[in-house]
Point group: C2
Chain length 315, copies 2
């Protein structure tokens, strides 16, 4: 364990060197990224949201061939294939599961039976309490600034983190707005014992997103993301023709049904996997405006640690 974070419970729980978890982002987090993060001392996660069960099986096997360090799978419970993906992850020997977008009670039974570490993503301290009561080993609290799907409460990382830390005794990781070591130091000052970083890892050489999507992240300005589709399923998206149309519909009072119809299906794949920057759904955090390069993970990780040390030295 690093001298930076002695007795860190997240490192102990997950068997990792640095309490830095790479978010399991749909269409961005495959075996290359997860293995690179785990090899660099963090925890890599496969984002199973956009994967069919057979794809997930291949990615787990590929990740295992690329690292002998622990890695995990992110399982958004709202997808219809979530139960099958959970089965595949367990069959393939994955023992770290990050679940989100649903109730942890749905899956905690099989996870505990299989001896898994179970971490659930929350956007409200009441849900953190429910996770603890259900038997989760830790929670990730995800602030309003985070990319992709998000809570309705709009609680920011600065406010949500101490709320969750005060609500439970299990470790709290925090996500949303963290792309630099200074932001990681801020998260730990707030009482988090680790961070989950999404957007910054999407913009890496190993990120599985389309190269045009990664470039769009690097080119994003300070205020180029917005949380939209709140009446349907809230999601933070990068500015493009599709998102601006959705915002105009919302301002005109569109219903959840009208918004869902305009969204249709497959837009996330179209945007982040296929690289359609105009009509695809481009899920990324508010912090995109602070991301200026596409790096190999092996270069990014030491930079995060150096920034962390520098920020702490200012206090």
């Amino acid at each position: 364990m690093s001298k930076r974070w002695p007795d860190n419970r997240v490192c102990a729980l997950l068997g990792i060197e640095h309490p830095i978890i790479q978010g399991g982002m749909i269409h961005n987090s495959g075996a290359d990224l997860a293995a690179a993060v785990s090899n660099a001392g963090g925890l890599g996660l496969l984002g199973s949201g956009g994967m069919r069960p057979d794809e997930l099986r291949l990615e787990v096997r590929r990740a295992r061939s690329l690292t002998d360090k622990p890695f995990g799978v992110n399982l958004p419970l709202l997808y219809s294939h979530a139960p099958e993906n959970l089965q595949v992850a367990l069959e393939e020997g994955v023992r770290i599961l990050f679940t989100s977008a649903g109730s942890p009670r749905k899956v905690i039974g099989p996870l505990k039976e299989a001896g898994c570490v179970s971490v659930h993503v929350v956007a409200h301290p009441d849900l953190a309490r429910k996770c603890e009561a259900a038997g989760c080993d830790a929670v990730v609290c995800e602030g309003f600034e985070a990319g992709g799907h998000n809570g309705r409460e709009e609680l920011t990382t600065m406010v949500l983190t101490p709320q969750c830390v005060g609500a439970v005794r299990i470790p709290v990781l925090t996500a949303g707005g963290i792309a630099t070591g200074a932001q990681m130091a801020a998260a730990l000052a707030l009482g988090a014992e680790g961070v989950q970083i999404g957007s910054r890892f999407a913009a890496t050489v190993e990120g599985a997103g389309h190269p045009d999507f990664k470039r769009a992240v690097v080119e994003a300005g300070p205020a180029d993301t917005q949380l939209v589709l709140k009446p349907h399923v809230p999601v933070r998206l990068l500015r493009n023709a599709f998102r601006d149309r959705i915002m105009r519909m919302e301002a005109a009072g569109a219903t959840a049904e009208e918004l869902a119809a305009e969204l249709g299906t497959g837009r996330a794949r179209r945007g982040m996997h296929d690289g359609d920057l105009t009509e695809g759904e481009l899920e990324i955090g508010q912090v995109a405006g602070l991301i200026d390069d596409i790096l190999p993970v092996a270069d990014l990780m030491p930079r995060l640690l150096a920034e962390y040390d520098e920020a702490v030295s200012r206090l």
Copy 2:
């Protein structure tokens, strides 16, 4: 200067011991609060937004009778009486002005002529750059989680702070989501050289708000505030009948004009000054859910500092 923050530019600029500025909140920040904060080693600000020029003159004189430490005036430039209030502040010898809700260019001339310290509140790094170019001595960047009037960009403190720190060479203070010393440590880790704290100082014995309003702040739950009136002038409000009606109108696609009509005039006074918790405008930050008591400033300030030390010791 405290050993906690050696060579702090905000302390040097304002002549204070701790880089903690009390937000100049409309109807909450009178002479009692400002003087108490300044006496405790921070910087108190009179919130001139809700004051007529004659009221402001009396409050400045009263504050001077209560402290021999520096204090300042917050001047929201959107009010029609702002030019007169500025005149009064200068006549009464105030030499620290925090301006907001408008362009600093409007007032920087007279401020600099009078030898004032000029600090402007921003919600986007581009405006921070304009403030620096105009001659401001510092900026306060205020995140989405802050109470009262807010930017349209919805940039949170975690993201906006490093954006602004990276944009200018003058000191950056940060506001929004800061009610504890741990949150202050997070802000400084992000590169801010000081914090502006509003909501936490509203819930003090010396706060000028109605006692029922202060109690409502203490009783607020984790997700009880929301940024509303975005098509008109965005403002973060505590949940009540008025705010919920506005949110229903927004969801139904109400125009800026319809929202302005429903808002009417005098609602902020009605809520925070008169204590109408049902139909008044209750401006408070998202952090209200973390505020559990009404304290004298003389007790609050040492608590903030102890929390700060404890947070830093964790890193």
